[in-house]
Symmetry: C2
Subunit: 350 residues, 2 copies
């Protein structure tokens, strides 16, 4: 079978991770990445033999740093079956006409407005809906975290309403110009925050309201989620539903000592995960509080990597490479070694 | 040749890294680690098949988390040729009588007082002096960074005096209970700080005074070093001297974008370094300012990993496994892939 030719436009936090994930897929070929600056990430990509494309006016800059460029972004699009747009928020919309001109399918990220694409995407929620579409938007990290949880529970028992607070990290680890560094900032100060609205681009009829604040940390986001079901639930029901999903890791803080976002990242470092990434949604088992129809829990979202498996599945959906979500998810999880986190840090039942 | 049997007592930041480094050495065998808590690091070590020892009163705790213990710390010492003490600062002194009782050689870390050992150690400075000694102290991360720099330059031109400021990180990434988180703290407010004094445990006659402050960050320490030589130097002299050392990576901030400790760590993440570690001393090429006999520069020290190669070399010195530093350093650097950082992020001279 011919491998699907995938290009990645933008090589920052998401782009570099998705590019490397594509290289691990048996049914995909990374034909190149496009980048505007010849920085350390470009040097490393070049030395890893990844073809680098850039706009005509940047070629000289790359050559000054000893990096030979494979061609222009247009050259890259001409070769590709699909492009993953991982440019900064809002820039994807500016590139869309170029993708249209070259007749290439495209994935956009959650920083773009929903109407850029034919549908928004989450692997556990609406893979089927995105099959063979032309333009798909993979929702942002927080929305992905919420959708993974809700679509895992929704198959179990109908959800009546969701109220969630998103405690956001201020900046990514590499970002040394962003804040706040000594403040807790409502984000926005109006209610609702956009996260719940974004969840509804996938789960259209859900009654969900979210609020968000930003705190001075770089590691992960944390959600406090309150869910009301149509019917009473038990703690065991929730644990069973979440345990059935490889992309969710239930963690026992008391027994393992993994009791903060810092400890989750330290566990990922010890595990030898590249870049200390945690593409799994981490749910603290200790936090699951059930009372009648109501469930409250806390979960942590690694903003840099949680959308990577979703991008890979979205490529398969759009290109018709796998006709059902289970097939794509299985290949993605196996190649990205998702599932190891919960295996390694689980406590055997005595 | 029989492999040297090494035990590691303490499995925190330094212990877990040294244990894994030992497993990569052709002339050493890790016979086990000793730990007091059955946390995520213990779970992972257990699932990596590393024998875990603990004190008799902690065995039950480990078994409750499904971890079978290989024996007591005494059992471990009975088996070992040498123990690397990586217990918290000051605790090594409490263990020394036990090491003496079992007739086992021991390495201590920089958190112990110098007089615990027969000598303090740095691979580039005094390997020969530590050959076949019984107890050796591997100096702390900041002292290791200073010694790597000074012993690389001292072979080049005689140093008359050193004045340095240590801007310390407040806590390690996993430590979520330590501060300061919103203050710059003289550490101590008296001059000198202990770092220069500690340098003199290895370079006894050096005129060095250091000052230190703590700032709210977890990633790396940063040093501003002022060196006065006996004779005039050029910028080229400094660059040549530092380029000759694999454990020093000269980084060009302007050309690579690696212009902060956050970016150094991001580069290590992209490189796929386990735990994003940077055992190399990073010197910013841009910062090297030379005027007559005087040199000023800035360097960054990864507190979690810089002493790991030194611990491995110290084991070889104490056990007489390599009769000269070059031989040990070569094996250590090769097995720990030291040198890759500067190779991958260097800018070719045009």
């Amino acid at each position: 079978m011919r491998k699907i030719k995938v290009a990645v436009n933008g090589y920052g936090t998401i782009g570099k991770r998705v590019a490397e994930a594509i290289m691990l897929q048996p049914d995909m070929e990374l034909i190149g990445i496009a980048k505007t600056r010849p920085d350390y990430a470009a040097l490393l990509a070049y030395r890893m033999k990844i073809p680098i494309y850039t706009s005509r006016e940047h070629v000289k800059l790359f050559e000054n740093n000893g990096i030979s460029v494979a061609g222009t972004i247009e050259d890259m699009l001409r070769e590709a079956d699909i492009v993953v747009d991982a440019t900064p928020a809002g820039i994807g919309a500016k590139y869309k006409p170029l993708y249209e001109k070259y007749g290439v399918k495209a994935l956009f990220q959650g920083g773009e407005k929903p109407d850029i694409a034919d549908a928004s995407f989450n692997s556990y929620c609406n893979y089927d809906e995105c099959l063979d579409k032309k333009y798909i938007r993979v929702v942002s990290c927080n929305t992905t975290g919420l959708l993974r949880l809700l679509c895992s529970l929704n198959t179990y028992n109908k959800i009546r309403r969701v109220r969630a607070t998103i405690v956001r990290r201020a900046a990514d680890p590499k970002e040394d110009k962003k804040g706040p560094i000594n403040s807790i900032k409502p984000n926005p100060v109006t209610v609702p925050s956009h996260h719940g609205v974004d969840v509804k681009t996938v789960l259209r009829d859900l009654n969900i309201v979210t609020t968000a604040v930003i705190v001075p940390t770089t590691l992960m986001h944390l959600h406090i989620v309150n869910i009301e079901f149509e019917n009473p639930m038990t703690r065991g029901d929730i644990i069973n539903a979440l345990s059935a999903r490889r992309r969710i890791a239930l963690v026992n803080a008391e027994l393992t000592g993994i009791d903060s976002t810092a400890k989750i990242i330290e566990a990922a470092r010890d595990l030898g995960r590249k870049r200390s990434d945690v593409p799994e949604l981490i749910v603290w088992e200790d936090s699951i509080h059930v009372s009648g129809n109501e469930v409250i829990l806390m979960q942590a979202v690694h903003q840099e990597s949680i959308v990577v498996p979703e991008n890979i599945d979205a490529i398969r959906a759009v290109m018709g490479l796998a006709k059902n979500p289970e097939e794509s998810i299985r290949i993605t999880d196996q190649t990205l070694k998702i599932g190891i986190f919960r295996e390694m840090f689980s406590i055997p039942k005595s």
